[in-house]
């Protein structure tokens, strides 16, 4: 149940247009929000909602959010290039594509996400990062944290503790960044390492960095302590009340239309289908009667679907007609292990009883699913 004052403040922000003419100085205002949800899609959706619908003139907003284990890729990135999708499926780690640019990050509850919403003319990433640095130093004056030209935050001059991305819209902008407090670093490094070979793509690539958690440096720097310090610094800087409003991003009465944004962000079409065109050029090695043979694979993938499919297995191992069937049936299908399993099972049913063939087919199909 959102408190009455909270509902009011959103209505105020949505409908109120501060008249600029006649004011020498813009009235100070602003808002600090924190999500009660740990669902990456809901949080990204409400972020998008605020960007689209809230009037930020003279009233910037800071939004805190944390997610259950998820990998988040930038708008124009290729998830196959950026992370280990097979491992993510095994571990139940969500994959999300955000609307801002930048690289791939791993989120869990030990990571704080902060979004700084402003109008276009107040867009200033460095100002936001300096605010965070001041807040960190207010808690721990000895802490050596600095913003780089790439808008990262580095601890002790070498460990990345924060990465930045942003979006510019018609009138509003947002700058969001991460902050590593107590993230599972083992999970982070294994999930952000792609096992997929032979990918050629023009997608924007991430720049890997060595990371560290603030909690490892100083055990007093928990997520709660840091969010509190950053909120206090933001309130002081914008001369607003230091009050963090809790919001439920799934609440349609406060954020009408937010659930359709959640659906869009969760959709295969958005997450995978928005991957820039890419190709896969790789070889499978299969052991057959004590010799190795090679299966050459070439795929062209557009909008997440296979446009060109050229799988070449030696015909003494697998009949040419079966290979041709595989190639033609995969064209137009999603570059997705589930869809591929379904299609290949259908083909296999047309060759009942041939167990040797079945076993070879299964080997090939398993390898195919393994690159998706």
């Amino acid at each position: 149940m959102i408190p009455f004052s909270m509902k009011n403040c959103f209505q105020f922000l949505c409908n109120h247009k501060v008249p600029a003419a006649g004011f020498k100085t813009t009235p100070k205002g602003g808002l600090i929000l924190q999500s009660v949800s740990n669902d990456v899609y809901q949080n990204l959706a409400v972020e998008d909602w605020i960007h689209d619908y809230i009037s930020l003139e003279g009233k910037p907003v800071l939004f805190f959010w944390r997610n259950s284990p998820s990998v988040v890729i930038g708008r124009h990135q290729n998830p196959w290039q950026e992370c280990n999708l097979n491992l993510m499926r095994e571990e139940g780690i969500k994959l999300a594509r955000r609307k801002s640019g930048g690289g791939t990050v791993y989120h869990d509850l030990g990571n704080i996400n902060m979004t700084f919403f402003t109008t276009k003319n107040k867009y200033d990433r460095m100002e936001n990062l300096q605010l965070i640095v001041r807040a960190l130093n207010a808690v721990q004056p000895q802490l050596d944290v600095q913003a780089t030209k790439r808008f990262d935050l580095l601890l002790d001059g070498q460990f990345k503790i924060s990465g930045t991305a942003s979006k510019i819209g018609r009138t509003n902008t947002y700058h969001h960044c991460t902050l590593l407090c107590s993230t599972d670093r083992t999970a982070l490094s294994s999930l952000l390492k792609s096992p997929y070979q032979g990918i050629e793509s023009r997608a924007t690539a991430s720049i890997p960095s060595t990371v560290k958690n603030l909690l490892e440096k100083d055990p007093t720097l928990t997520c709660e302590v840091l969010m509190s310090a950053i909120a206090a610094e933001y309130a002081a800087h914008h001369h607003i009340k230091n009050h963090v409003h809790l919001i439920n991003p799934a609440d349609e009465t406060v954020f009408p239309g937010v659930n359709s944004k959640v659906q869009e962000l969760r959709s295969w079409e958005w997450i995978y289908g928005r991957t820039p065109k890419f190709s896969v050029n790789t070889t499978f090695n299969v052991l057959h009667e004590q010799t190795h043979l090679e299966i050459k694979v070439f795929l062209d993938i557009k909008d997440g679907r296979i446009e060109i499919c050229n799988i070449k297995a030696p015909d003494h191992w697998l009949p040419l007609e079966l290979c041709d069937q595989l190639n033609s049936s995969l064209i137009g299908s999603k570059f997705c292990p589930i869809e591929t399993a379904m299609l290949t099972n259908i083909i296999l049913r047309t060759y009942p009883g041939d167990y040797k063939l079945h076993s070879k087919w299964n080997i090939l199909c398993e390898k195919m699913r393994g690159i998706m």
Binding site: H76, T204, P276
Partner: protein, 171 residues
Amino acid sequence: VRVISDRAGRGLLPALGPGPRCPLPLRPWRLQVGAVRSLHTGPALLSVRKFTEKHEWITTENGIGTVGISNFAQEALGDVVYFSLPEIGTKLKKQDEFGALESVKAASELYSPLSGEVTEVNEALAENPGLVNKSCYEDGWLIKMALSNPSELDERMSEEAYEKYLKSVEE
């Protein structure tokens, strides 16, 4: 004949010979904007560049508009690293979002300055998105579209009006 650009970087069509309204002899010469205007009494083959408040530019030729972003925009955005442009055949209304770009500054949406149907997309930008920074008025064009409502152009700013607008924005 070389295509000569004027100060604003506008490409002008090469003169292929004396046209029906051009009384001057056939020889290679340096074309200047003013000279072209005074020679043609009919509609220009290549219209003058118009600008929007969102820092896009448009030129038209036989009902096909070419859209790009202005020098102010490309400087403000910084190095562009990716373009997401529409499919040929996409129908756009004025102000519709038609794509996005990613630069070192941010991911930014691109809005259509006019209504029409996309007829061509600059494929060179896929390989070399930085082309828009190097040559925003020529090689770095974004899309071409068949205009469904050419009168929308009348609402757009001339180059002089755009320059005045920039000065007011920068204050």
